[in-house]
Symmetry: C2
Subunit: 232 residues, 2 copies
DNA sequence: CAAGATTATTTGGTATACCAAATTATGAAT
DNA sequence: ATTCATAATTTGGTATACCAAATAATCTTG
């Protein structure tokens, strides 16, 4: 007796979402954190049964995830979790870098004082957790920091595209983050630089700081991906 | 007796694509050129019947188009062709601008001499058609010019994301292009500048030229969208 | 015993059936 | 005639059924 996906104790009339979207959310989360490993199969019948739904909405979810680049659907094979090549990861990072530089530029015009405050708070959390052994916490706040900057642009397409690139890069960046526990001070310094640019609403400084920050990430991840692949 | 979508006289064994993808291609083309007007309904039964397929693959196509931002699917209403607000169009253009600037930068490293030749040829076509009354031809070559630059980066995610933004912007840019027949010389001058940057593999010049070119487009489209909406 | 052919089974792709919500049409009451 | 309530119908969401291709298993044959 598989449990249904969500407790439907929400507002019964409003905000009903398609099942496919909900399933996509569930699977996306599992893929992003590596619970569903890259390359692993997602058989339609088995998975839909496990989720307590039929194949139809599961299929919709898989199509959504395919369009996001998280799932690969070959003609007559089981859908598999995307397993991006090193080159593809770098390509994704290059675009992500440009998106965040743009976001920094735009955010200087659109960000509110409250939003700056929120980002400062995130930065504070990262400083506080800099010595934490739980690398996952530090990493998640790091991601939230970047997301918050993009959100401050109020540019919906930019926010969505950035989120999608983030999903595809999450795993690679997490693995990179785990090996750089010793170098968190550099991350924090770069974040501080970005934050300073935002505070002064200095478009060039902010976008350049973000660009430089991402370039660092590209360099780090490139070296990791060059190694023979030892996974989590 | 509705005709089937495609003649299956292709290689029978290889490259078989899902019906949903093919339908998405058909509908995307119709949406992009305005054959399916913004805001118009796409009833599932009626449309699937007209295309000679069942609702299932049509629905897959609609989901793909929704994820591309070309179709809006509300909870219990017929899917409708997206009708982006002026603010959204500008937001899209801002991102597209950053994507093309990035492409120009990257392409300077990756573009081949053949590809430069191809782009020069496109430029030559535009020069030749500068006085053509068929604004559609000039416009399409214009789009191809930009696509070719992005393609030269060999960055698959960038190419795909750019293509999606292009789809969503196609109509707005076409309408803008039609009102600027008199100012094609400016477009050509800016393209020449971009091309020169590519020839010299000058990353800064190329990306700046593309950025400036897109900024011009944003300005033009903004003024058009500010007017009361008279359509095609 | 090994290798190839053939059958059985699994799996994705598509079509159809069913349901619930929403819209439209219809009719009664003021 | 207008307005509100109610019934009929349309429409999207989900489940199920069916088919063809691909894979796995089995059997036959050299």
């Amino acid at each position: 007796m598989p449990a249904s996906l969500i407790d439907v104790s929400e507002i019964p009339s409003l905000s009903r979402q398609r099942l496919g979207d909900q399933i996509a959310d569930v699977l996306r989360k599992q893929i992003v954190v590596g619970e569903l490993a890259p390359g692993s199969r997602i058989p339609e019948r088995e998975t839909s049964l496990a989720l307590g739904v039929s194949r139809t909405p599961l299929r919709e979810a898989l199509l959504i995830l395919e369009s996001e680049g998280l799932v690969t659907m070959a003609p007559a094979r089981s859908p598999i979790v995307a397993n991006p090549s090193p080159k593809e990861v770098v390509d994704l990072l290059i675009v992500q870098s440009a998106l965040e530089a743009l976001a920094g530029d735009c955010a200087c015009d659109t960000i509110t004082e409250e939003e700056i405050g929120h980002i400062e708070e995130l930065h504070g959390q990262m400083v506080a957790q800099a010595d934490s052994t739980e690398s996952i916490d530090f990493f998640q706040v790091d991601m939230a920091f970047h997301q918050a900057i993009v959100a401050a642009t109020k540019n919906a397409p930019l926010i969505k595209t950035h989120a999608q690139y983030n999903s595809r890069l999450w795993r690679a960046r997490y693995l990179s983050s785990r090996r750089r526990v010793k170098k968190r001070s550099l991350t924090l310094a770069e974040h501080g630089n970005i934050l300073e640019g935002l505070r002064n609403r200095d478009r060039k400084r902010t976008s350049r700081a973000l660009e430089k920050h991402l370039k660092t990430a590209i360099r780090n991840i490139s070296t990791i991906l060059a190694e023979p692949g030892t996974d989590a």
